[in-house]
């Protein structure tokens, strides 16, 4: 019992994959399986690419 618990609990979680447009599309398609955040279900989240381009756009805009 002890060793079986340790063999699971001490294993690191898988490294998160990149959030891409493909994964967003898949999330929306499979949303009926998911009971979590409504934003995620509706695909209302930034992909890594979107976040980076938004960041560049905002930082390159000078403040008033």
């Amino acid at each position: 019992m002890q060793s079986s618990i340790r063999s699971v609990i001490d294993v690191p979680l898988p490294t998160p994959k990149k959030v891409t447009a493909k994964s967003k599309k898949f999330t929306i398609k499979e949303s009926h399986r998911f009971r979590g955040s409504v934003r995620i279900t509706c695909g209302k989240f930034y992909t890594d690419e979107e976040f980076e381009s938004r960041r560049k756009r905002i930082l390159s805009t000078p403040l008033p």
């Binding site: 609990i9 690191p12 209302k44 989240f45 905002i58 000078p62 008033p64």
Partner: protein, 140 residues
């Protein structure tokens, strides 16, 4: 067990949660950012190891070290989440400031919000002029 480390991890998580809610509320178009969620998830994974060791569910070789190490790792993940969130939040606020003041002259902004100028000026290394082009120091 190091109570101080445990308290620090939980305190940090409360801050992370508060900032995450604020960032979600200020983001345009109800968009979410998932990277901090991954970090929080990893932090909780380490916290669950601590609870497992404390409750006797697992018996590590050196419980004290095991618990402290996992608390430190959890804190590290919460810090990463915190910095990701503050990065996201600062983008939201910066964009909203730019949009709100769009179309108003520097003189007008200085007239309406004189405190803002003082605050900017008090920052170390803040320039006299915030214009994108050099217009002298009278733009505010």
């Amino acid at each position: 067990m190091n109570k101080e480390l445990q308290r620090k991890a939980v305190e940090l998580y409360i801050r992370v949660k508060g900032m995450y809610i604020l960032a979600e509320e200020t983001t345009p178009g109800f968009m979410d950012f998932l990277q901090p969620v991954f970090e929080i998830n990893r932090g909780f994974d380490h916290m669950s190891r601590v609870i497992a060791a404390e409750t006797g569910l697992t018996v590590p070789d050196d419980p004290e070290t095991y618990i402290n190490e996992n608390l430190k790792k959890a804190t590290g993940h919460f810090y990463r989440a915190y910095f990701d969130i503050t990065d996201w939040l600062s983008m939201n606020l910066r964009e909203s400031v730019t949009e709100e003041f769009n179309g108003f002259s520097h003189t007008c902004i200085a007239e309406v919000a004189p405190e803002a100028r003082k605050q900017f000026k008090s920052e170390e290394g803040a320039p006299d002029c915030y214009c994108s082009s050099s217009c002298g120091s009278t733009c505010w």
